[in-house]
Amino acid sequence: MQSALSISFSQTSLPLANRPLCSSNAAPSTTPRNLRFCGLRREAFGFSPSKQLTSCRFQIQSRRIEVSAAASSSAGNGAPSKSFDYDLIIIGAGVGGHGAALHAVEKGLKTAIIEGDVVGGTCVNRGCVPSKALLAVSGRMRELQNEHHMKAFGLQVSAAGYDRQGVADHASNLATKIRNNLTNSMKALGVDILTGFGAVLGPQKVKYGDNIITGKDIIIATGSVPFVPKGIEVDGKTVITSDHALKLESVPDWIAIVGSGYIGLEFSDVYTALGSEVTFIEALDQLMPGFDPEISKLAQRVLINPRKIDYHTGVFASKITPAKDGKPVMIELIDAKTKEPKDTLEVDAALIATGRAPFTNGLGLENINVVTQRGFIPVDERMRVIDGNGKLVPHLYCIGDANGKMMLAHAASAQGISVVEQVTGRDHVLNHHSIPAACFTHPEISMVGLTEPQAKEKAEKEGFKVSIAKTSFKANTKALAENEGEGLAKMIYRPDNGEILGVHIFGLHAADLIHEASNAIALGTRIQDIKLAVHAHPTLSEVVDELFKAAKVDSPASVTAQSVKVAV
């Protein structure tokens, strides 16, 4: 654990490694910003440095990983400050903790991560990852079952069927694989993975199991668990949460899904493709609250109405009893406003997808006088934990679902990286408006920034004008080639200065298309500049290009963008 070696790695060896590999216009930069993009790579080591790579950028990237790995294997993951066991202790090895740990090692911090359950947290084991495996299956089933769609391609497919266990295995295998990748990436970098439930004992002091360790800075990244409203009895068989559903132990004939947000929608896609009928129960007056209204309206036409789905809106499920004694699952519905009993449903199963609750019990927060709000740990914009008196707790941060700012895996990771930036001397505030979100239905929904009503409200308050640009997937060659012309993209922007306020996409591969917009928001790129960038034809990315080009901005393109154009 020699400090000299690790310092030389982080300060000097990197720029040196950079220099011979790249041409002059990508001159090595010594600003820490240049280091950042490595930290977000979840599976850094799935990427072999020995592969022949032609792109200059990739060479740097893979070489850098090689360098950092070499440095860490010889020197451990940095050396702690004299008086602490670690520079950084992260409680919770989910995607947020993992992102923070990788970035911390890169910045030369001696890092430990404490995990009481399995590495990977919700996302990898009980969330985004296995659900994507199920959705990959449902997408194919849906396509194969759609005779009309197949016929339009001139394809003939006889009755498509599936093997439930095979589908379930695909999901669990994927989770295992990603979990191993995550674990290996941290081990390879020398992050100490400590097993046990972590709790904060006092300032800069953490307990796990029977051990007590100290750290200069501490990040709480304990995530969340499915939220089950009272009155609902979860038995794990007929009344289930996403944790159970992802195991796909059964495919009920008729399943009620309580909540029509991301989780509920994705599961409705899976279940209907596998032959179930679905009934949504939504407390708000509209399905898919939280999405841009125009998008949710179209999504309802495509994802709900033509499928074997019905719904009850404006109602709470006040009581759900699992199937027993030869009776089906009973769901009592009450009016969301008047609380009057409204209806009783009898179904084969019920999935509770009413959101997620922070997992912050037993964290020892009382030791540092922190009071949770509905379980969430209060933080400021820099993820610094705020105590019961409204004061910042020094050296304590909370990221991810536990702080409730934006309950998305990649948001947690970005917050973690932001914290590491701060504790290594660079002030950093994460722009949450630039964090994209996606719902992986068929077709997908994605969004970044403000919805139209939010933007209009903001515009009214701050006195600027808002314009909307829209385009349809029907106008995109690639989408039509795939016979997937159903879809809409819209951009909400300021016509005066070309600022992108929000982008919402519903259509084929929407989740992959959103990043051009989210990056533009993150980097402050204006429409008048990005509209000059070129997109390969024919690709789905032209849908976003079309948005930029359709926008009517009063300001001219900036000088830099024009000079880039000349350079090309």
Partner: protein, 480 residues
């Protein structure tokens, strides 16, 4: 979503009772790559209005071929606002999309007849357009009478017959509120409800056969009289528990003690329904003895090659039908012959507790070996309930063979939609006398064809059977 916008305004003046309605679709600026413009003559609406001035009605447009009613999402213009030709006036939600409807005329939006969030059938007036400001008031009063009359219609239902007993003054509350042990409410699955709406079936009148007595999609399909769609990919549900007899008031004698009532499966319901329907067709039967010695000899030869008796009979029937197209025809409307373009032989198969008729398509054209192969495949699919609809409902002629049970002759019921069905008995050694009076023993099989007498007459059927018998008695042509 302003994918396209349509103009849909029509003149309804005194002099012009037949108004021209034109449709123009243009694409909003954001949709730059797709440009189309169409002018479609739509059905003419005849609406006589007793207004002297030029007040135009804004109709609910038909925004898609399947649209029957539309919902007003929002009025872009308010009452009294001036409109210029081509401006969007209202956003209408169809079954497919939201569309802006624009005006073809300059004028003033005089009155909104159908408000935001309300629904109106295609062709109904949703607003009034006045040509001049002076006419706004007139249009308004017109609209008021229109809406008030329609409201009156909507609110006051047909008055109940006056009864002597005083009726309670309060409206009856919906009987669903209480969660009681009283009469069970209707439970229908989401897809069943969708299908019921689509096929205009009253869900309350459908008998549920699904788990816990719920109404499933196939119950609705049965009630709607359509063949149940392909079996669900989900594993088949457990057999419904025997439902205890409901206290329905029927004239049937009471059940014996310990008897049970087992509701029909979807397949059995479909059979039942078809059988009842068959009673509306005037049928007759013609029987014919067929000598099968040559056929039996051929069968022995080709059996090792995988040829089945079913394939042989289907092929023979197919070849005979090719010469007698009327027997392969059907009568759909009671007014005409529907000559089918191909000869598809449906073969009745008993399948655990049900009956299904996989179809050998183009039985006259396919060779015997292909036909046999196809048959094996169909039977396999039928057993695993994987038959696609076209594989069991595309038959033009049905073959039913009970010979393997030793049945010597029987009478088949003509399935609705087909012209004839052939009932095949067992082939048995029979003493026959030839024309010279010599007796001999020959294998003889009795076939009995039931046909729809609206299109197939006695002589047609007899001639067909004669051809069939000739083919069976000289079966070499079957292998060609």
């Amino acid at each position: 979503m302003a994918v396209s916008s349509s103009s849909f305004l029509s003149t309804a003046s005194l002099t012009n009772s037949k108004s021209n309605i034109s449709f123009a679709s243009s694409v909003s600026p954001s949709l730059r790559s797709v440009v189309f413009r169409s002018t479609t003559p739509a059905t003419s609406h005849r609406r006589s209005m007793t207004v002297r001035s030029k007040i135009r009605e804004i109709f609910m447009p038909a925004l898609s071929s399947t649209m029957t009613e539309g919902k007003i999402v929002s009025w872009i213009k308010t009452e009294g606002e001036k409109l210029a030709k081509g401006e969007s006036v209202v956003v209408v939600e169809s079954d497919k999309a939201d569309m802006d409807v624009e005006t073809f005329y300059d004028g003033y939006l005089a009155a909104i007849v159908v408000g935001e969030g309300e629904t109106a059938p295609v062709g109904a007036a949703i607003g009034l357009l006045a040509e001049t400001e002076a006419e706004i008031e007139e249009a308004k009063s017109k609209a008021a009478s229109k809406s008030s009359s329609s409201v009156a219609e909507a609110v006051v239902p047909s008055p109940p017959p006056v009864t002597s007993s005083p009726a309670p003054a309060i409206a009856q509350p919906a009987p669903v509120t209480a969660v009681s042990d009283g009469p069970r409410k209707t439970v229908a699955t989401p897809y069943a409800k969708k299908l019921a709406k689509q096929h205009k079936v009253d869900i309350e009148s459908v008998a549920g056969t699904g788990p816990f007595g719920r109404i499933t999609a196939s119950d609705v399909e049965t009630a709607a009289g359509i063949a149940p769609s392909k079996s669900s990919i989900a594993p088949p549900p457990p057999p419904p528990p025997p439902v205890t007899a409901k206290a329905t008031t029927t004239n049937l004698p009471p059940l014996l003690p310990d008897s049970s009532i087992v509701p029909f499966t979807a397949m059995q319901s479909a059979v039942s329904k078809n059988m009842i329907e068959s009673l509306s067709v005037p049928t007759f039967r013609v029987g014919y003895p067929v000598n099968t010695d040559a056929l039996d000899a051929l069968y022995e030869k080709v059996k090792p090659k995988g040829v089945t008796m079913t394939a042989l009979l289907a092929k023979a029937a197919g070849m005979a039908l090719a010469q007698h197209p009327v027997v392969n025809a059907s009568c759909k409307d009671g007014k005409s012959f529907s000559y089918n373009s191909s000869i598809n032989i449906a073969v009745a198969v008993a399948i655990n507790g049900g009956l299904i008729t996989p179809v050998l398509q183009d039985a006259d054209k396919l060779d015997l070996y292909l036909l046999s192969q196809k048959w094996k495949e169909l039977v396999g699919k039928a057993r695993s309930k994987q038959l696609q609809p076209h594989e069991y409902n595309s038959g033009t002629f049905t073959l039913s063979n009970l010979g393997m049970f030793g049945v010597d002759r029987f009478d088949a019921i003509l399935p609705p939609g087909q012209g004839a069905i052939m009932a095949v008995g067992a082939s048995k050694p029979t003493v026959v006398a030839d024309k010279d009076g010599f007796f001999s023993v020959k294998n003889t099989m009795l076939v009995n064809v039931t046909a729809d007498h609206r299109i197939v007459y006695g002589a047609d059927l007899a001639a067909f059977l004669q051809t069939f018998a000739k083919i069976i008695e000289n079966p070499d042509s079957l292998t060609l």
